[in-house]
């Protein structure tokens, strides 16, 4: 098996294969949890934690897990770490937990985690898988934070619940929900445009 370069693996998840803007995985927590910066960041960190440890364990056990029942095995490993996150958050961050409860338990079915388990952790070394989990997780966290920043600023004029723009006309809850879709769509388009520009530059050279 060829050895992957750590740097390549790391940058892969962060930019080249950014889970949200390029692979378009895990859209549910993306849209639901990026209403403000704090939630987006917390969701990103929680997912990163699960991603790193599930990748690590799956790649350690990749030779033991029988091929036919691999998906249920992956799900059990993933849900173990999701339960850990749930219990830790309930104890130490009860306020945040109560608003994010639904989507914390839905990390189990987050496509990013299962996709990485299936396409990366199940056929790579443990160390590489940990790096992959870390980079995918950070890519996810970064995208969620950017979205959270934009959405929080434009819906309520605050950042981290600190008022930035005074007398900002608050957006209604229902339209703020619809705005979530638009924000994600526009960010994705902007990301695409950047990639098109980069590709053009490379073509010219």
């Amino acid at each position: 098996m060829e050895r992957l370069k750590v740097k390549d693996t790391f940058l892969n998840g962060l930019i080249k294969n950014n889970p949200i803007f390029v692979l378009v995985l895990g859209m549910c927590p993306t849209i639901a949890m990026s209403t403000n910066l704090k939630q987006g960041f917390a969701m990103g960190i929680a997912t990163t934690f699960v991603l790193i440890f599930s990748n690590m364990f799956i790649s350690m056990l990749r030779k033991i897990i029988p091929d036919k029942i691999r998906i249920p095995c992956y799900i059990i490993i993933i849900s173990t770490f999701v339960i850990i996150v749930e219990l830790v958050m309930r104890k130490y961050l009860p306020e945040l937990y109560s608003t994010m409860k639904v989507f914390i338990s839905l990390i189990v079915v987050n496509c990013i985690i299962l996709a990485r388990a299936e396409s990366f952790a199940s056929c790579n070394r443990t160390f590489d898988s940990i790096i992959d989990g870390l980079s995918m997780g950070l890519g996810f966290t970064l995208s969620l934070s950017v979205l959270g920043f934009i959405r929080e600023l434009l819906t309520s004029g605050t950042i981290f619940e600190i008022t930035i723009i005074k007398n900002f006309p608050q957006m209604q809850v229902t339209s703020a929900k619809a705005f979530g879709f638009i924000a994600v769509g526009c960010c994705m388009a902007a990301f695409n445009q950047i990639r098109i520009n980069i590709a053009k530059k490379k073509g010219v050279k």
Binding site: K101, S175, I196
Partner: protein, 191 residues
């Protein structure tokens, strides 16, 4: 809450996709064509309805007596995953026509967060068996409505000249946001 209210709220006012943001992956992924979208929608209703009964039973008759509520997430996802497998086998054996219609979409449903999300919601709110069944069917139908409308819009978008960077998912998300606005109009209706 009365059962009629539960159904209408889940169906339109608090639509699973457009208002609760669950099940967005299949909503964006398999909405390219009307026929596949409806296939997915019906498969979701089917699995949701059956899984709601099973998750209810397991939660109240197994997990609660054993005081293992914290294992809810793991138990539910395993129930859903195995149910999907069993349903797939049963349909394959007894109804080949239904299998060819739903077959491809069934395995995808395991990772549809709407199914797990609805099972969780029914438990968190504390609904009885009948109410959680109604909630699941209505939620699934809400999903079908949303994905069907979106597929219609996407078929039209295919024929239009969209800026290059907006092609594919971005323009679909923007179409979805306008749908969400339309559905949001119903939100005060049943409150």
């Amino acid at each position: 809450m009365s059962i009629v209210l539960i159904i209408f709220t889940a169906l339109i006012a608090d639509n699973i996709v457009l208002s609760q943001f669950q099940g967005i992956c299949p909503f964006l992924g398999v909405s390219k064509k009307g026929s596949t979208a409806t296939g997915m929608g019906f498969a979701v209703i089917f699995v949701m309805a059956i899984s709601s009964v099973f998750t209810y039973m397991v939660y109240y008759y197994v997990l609660v007596p054993l005081e293992l509520e914290y294992l809810k997430t793991m138990a539910f996802i395993l129930i859903i995953a195995s149910l999907v497998q069993i349903i797939e086998m049963v349909i394959k054996k007894y109804s080949p026509t239904l299998y060819t219609a739903l077959g491809v979409y069934l395995p995808l449903i395991t990772t549809n967060c709407a199914v797990l999300g609805t099972a969780n919601t029914a438990i968190d709110v504390g609904y009885g068996l009948l109410n959680s069944f109604a909630l699941s069917v209505a939620t699934g139908t809400g999903f079908l409505i949303a994905i069907f409308i979106l597929s219609g819009i996407r078929e039209k978008i295919e024929k239009t000249d969209v800026p290059k960077c907006f092609k594919g998912f971005p323009i679909t998300l923007i179409a979805a946001s306008i749908m969400a606005l339309a559905f949001a109009g119903f939100s005060g209706l049943f409150a």
